[in-house]
Symmetry: C2
Subunit: 248 residues, 2 copies
């Protein structure tokens, strides 16, 4: 499976469009992923119009891929469709709760990753936007998502117009545990992160940001506690608004 092994995130795309046929084929195949009780708890919103891309872009902190990619896909955890079906069939759905959100989120992310693999294998490039859950409320409004539907992942797709270096990954033994979790010793941590810390681009990050360590780039600049706390309460609020925390 060379396309997975050699993959890299693509942020620059050719102007060439993606045909409806190809996109639909990739989506259809992606929906073969494992799904909880075969309920298929997801929906996908396809954005092709320039107008909608321009409106989506600021909701993803103006990352340029949103407007430059021919296709933007918003993958949504969706218990709305299934619940409508239940009500229409004399069955009372009980999915307005936290576990059901996590179940739908899981279904959705498996399909999202399947789509990315298939797209890359077909010669397309993708970028996964983690920003979707940072500020989901205006995305919900823009895409007109009803109750029990929450956007969880956004993928920009297009034909690659760059071939960046593959990013580093931690060594396998830093991630895989045999039989039980072995808590990391200080030496383990040093070994696991040594290569990442040695990379010239990371040393440069430390220097231009006037920091002492690479970890400080993450804790003080990129993924700050105060931002995380703000987004955590925002996400809980959104889950309540979309009806996944009815009992709270």
């Amino acid at each position: 499976m060379e396309s997975i092994k050699n993959r890299r995130t693509i942020r620059k795309y050719k102007s060439q469009n993606i045909s409806d046929d190809l996109l639909n084929e990739l989506l259809q195949e992606a929906f073969r992923a494992s799904t909880m009780g075969n309920m298929q708890l997801y929906s996908v919103i396809v954005t092709r119009s320039e107008e909608m891309k321009a409106k989506l872009a600021p909701l993803h902190f103006n990352q340029p891929m949103v407007t430059t990619a021919p296709v933007v896909l918003t993958f949504c955890a969706d218990f709305n469709r299934f619940s409508l079906w239940c009500r229409q069939r004399k069955a009372e759905p009980g999915y307005n709760n936290f576990i059901s959100f996590i179940n739908a989120l899981s279904d959705t992310l498996l399909v999202t990753q399947n789509f990315c693999t298939l797209a890359e294998d077909a010669g397309l490039g993708i970028c996964y936007l983690g920003t979707t859950i940072y500020n989901p409320e205006p995305i919900i409004d823009l895409l007109n998502l009803p109750e029990l539907v929450v956007p969880v992942a956004t993928i920009t797709v297009g034909y690659p117009d760059e071939c960046p270096a593959q990013p580093d990954r931690l060594p396998l033994n830093g991630i895989v545990h045999l039989e039980t979790y072995k808590q990391y010793s200080p030496e383990d941590i040093d070994n696991i992160y040594a290569y990442k810390e040695s990379l010239p681009e990371n040393l440069n990050f430390i220097s231009i940001n006037n920091k002492e360590t690479l970890a400080q780039i993450f804790t003080d600049i990129r993924y700050k506690k105060s931002d995380n706390e703000f987004m955590s309460s925002g996400l809980v609020k959104v889950l309540k608004r979309q009806g996944f925390f009815e009992d709270r």
Copy 2:
């Protein structure tokens, strides 16, 4: 990508083992999936011992695959390793909150799906156990998971000893929306679920369970509101215990 198109969940495995080399290669390649800020917020626990499988099985409602598969993998959302690194590098991690759990969960599920694709492409069969988040506490205890580590998906893997029929999937137009979400009309719902409702095995389910509709099988038997509510509060409790809800 024929292996994705033709995939089916495999619950019966040959006795043939999976070599460490193959398993490690598949995991290593799976870790190429997109990851938030390249933090790789996951760990994988490999279960090979009969003793551990026997202990895991009841925590997955005694699904037989847990003891009959040569390998069981528990994929865990993990902010422990990253936080240890931060503390060891004069950086104060701020990841004991809900958004960080969702970020780690997302990273983990992308890798899980990548692993499944790679395993199937290598001729293995997998079964995704959604039961992992139904009752995570004893799994945490058994696998010795520290704070900021939560099991989110379990995969049984082995060489296939069956070739079941491919399950049905909803029609593409029941899942994909153009530009904005189009709320489903009653006719849409009828159309989307018509094929599923027509399947002999589903008609049989209704009959042997003395129900009126297929939806009632889901709401009254398989995924009941009372069970969902019980599991929701259990999951919130576990997230608190593992330190992902420090502010609540």
